[in-house]
Symmetry: C2
Subunit: 316 residues, 2 copies
């Protein structure tokens, strides 16, 4: 009963394409922003910039670098200006940043941001609890931000969080998600990311939401999905969404981060776990899995805890 | 920024059935056998019997109770006779046991077993490394076991392990799996379980294998699938298999256990994570998720480590 298990990407299975799947998927890497903002450890500025550079070297082409939120809200990202300027411009790489309001947009532009994201939600409770205003108020707050960014020629991503469930309201109606998504596009957002912030959704909910969203005239080619692995459903949800034609997914290198406002939320879907599945399906991502897992192990060292990614663990 | 996250099954999303899915799925619970045989801690006999009783109370109706393997091979299960007799007969509940050979079958029958399982593999390497003979030799060894069990009126499940990859050979051809599966059915096995023992497979591989297996005349209604979460792919694989019409899946309460012969293998798919997805899809399993998660927390206490199940963690 000897064992000589392969423990590197030699274990990668051959490719078995599946009918009706896209040939290519864009991974929107959220580790440096959504990941690090939810970690207890405040990572030094130089490490954050190095993290982004390593992600680029591993083949990621869209990386949300930081958030120009008030340091009083999220002290982990109090060095947004320094991180973005340290990373600088990288040919062919998109480096969006999150901005919460006009003040944030000004700071982002001053630091050289060329692409931004705003963060709305599908529920009144989340808006009230986290932004202190109702949903109409949240959209009204974003309107001048989006307008100014678009005037400056910047693409704007509109996040819609709590699309499948909410810690205060429970179930969320798909038509509410479609309504907020429609509002963001009408305001000028160039793309969307619909998030299962608390991670309760399953593949049936994903397909139902995508049906509703498409029925509301929202183009799926401008719509990414953002899953959390709190209940282990993230990859099954990605699989369902792929069959419906979605071609962009958010994930976090090593699975770091989560939702700081939802107590039970564990990390985002790990980029490595996503890449493993996509590779098996013959879907091109451009990511070097060994390099990415090495980066996540390096970051886990800085965070002082092991990566929650199954693939990072299995390859170690 | 207050938080009042629900932390019980109140967080369960409403049901969103998906077209083309089965209405009902049988969960073949492997925790007491496949789970406990791979844990470092040897659980007392009374706790094992109580584990089975609690699983029944939580609504599971098919539970593999133990293995009549030599105690020299798997000391964790050296009390197979005592566990099976302590559990006794339970109305309407199937309680299969694993038997490795004729000696094991005799012991199982003496302890009152009414259903058995045999464990083959799709690769020569696994057969040679773990059973010390080639594949033809393994099948020849099982032939009298299956014949005697069938003569005694017992249903016999034939496991095929290493269906998607093998730690020694790497990729496994689907036709090899189909050939071993065919051999087991021809020998008299009444059902099959095809396993991704090292957990490398993705949904494309699952659909490819099911195509090949069906093409070889093997009825999918007699074929269960057994996934490991080593690379995080288990639930996505279940989702793909559901779309192909598979209606039986193996899983382990709390995700305990793994493959003792594959160093990097982490636990089986957790029953709770499977039930969460199936429930969201409106697929009936009969399992009470709160009772099951409570059982897994109780067993985690006996094993001295937290459950690796995402759902058990999220509900805690």
């Amino acid at each position: 009963m000897t064992s000589e298990t392969t423990s590197s990407t030699d274990a990668l299975p051959r490719i078995a394409p599946q009918r009706g799947m896209p040939e290519q998927v864009r991974i929107y890497e959220v580790g440096p922003r959504d990941g690090l903002q939810a970690e207890a450890v405040r990572v030094p500025t130089a490490v954050k910039a190095e993290f982004v550079r390593r992600l680029v070297e591993a083949g990621l082409t869209t990386i949300e670098v930081t958030s120009f939120v008030s340091p009083r809200w999220i002290p982990q990202l109090d060095d947004a200006h320094e991180v973005l300027t340290a990373v600088g411009r990288l040919d062919g790489i998109r480096l969006p940043v999150l901005v919460p309001n006009e003040r944030g947009l000004e700071r982002a532009l001053a630091a050289g941001a060329r692409e931004i994201a705003v963060f709305a939600s599908a529920t009144e409770s989340f808006a009230k609890n986290n932004l202190g205003r109702d949903m109409a108020g949240v959209l009204a707050m974003f309107e001048p931000v989006v307008r100014r960014a678009r005037s400056a020629g910047l693409p704007v991503r509109g996040y819609v969080s709590m699309c499948f469930g909410d810690p205060w309201e429970g179930d969320v109606e798909p038509r509410k998600v479609a309504s907020v998504a429609r509002g963001l596009l009408d305001m000028g957002c160039t793309s969307l990311s619909l998030g299962d912030t608390i991670g309760t959704g399953t593949p049936g909910h994903v397909l139902e939401l995508l049906d509703t969203v498409r029925g509301a005239g929202i183009p799926l080619e401008r719509t990414a999905l953002h899953f959390h692995d709190t209940y282990g459903q993230a990859l099954a949800n990605v699989h369902a969404a792929l069959t419906a034609g979605v071609t962009e997914f958010d994930s976090s290198a090593g699975g770091i981060g989560g939702c700081p406002y939802a107590r039970s939320a564990t990390g985002n879907l790990a980029t490595e776990d996503l890449v493993w599945m996509l590779r098996g399906l013959g879907i091109h991502t451009g990511v070097d899995l060994n390099a990415l897992a090495a980066t996540s192990r390096w970051m886990a060292h800085h965070l002082g805890r092991p990566s929650p990614s199954r693939v990072v663990t299995a390859l170690a």
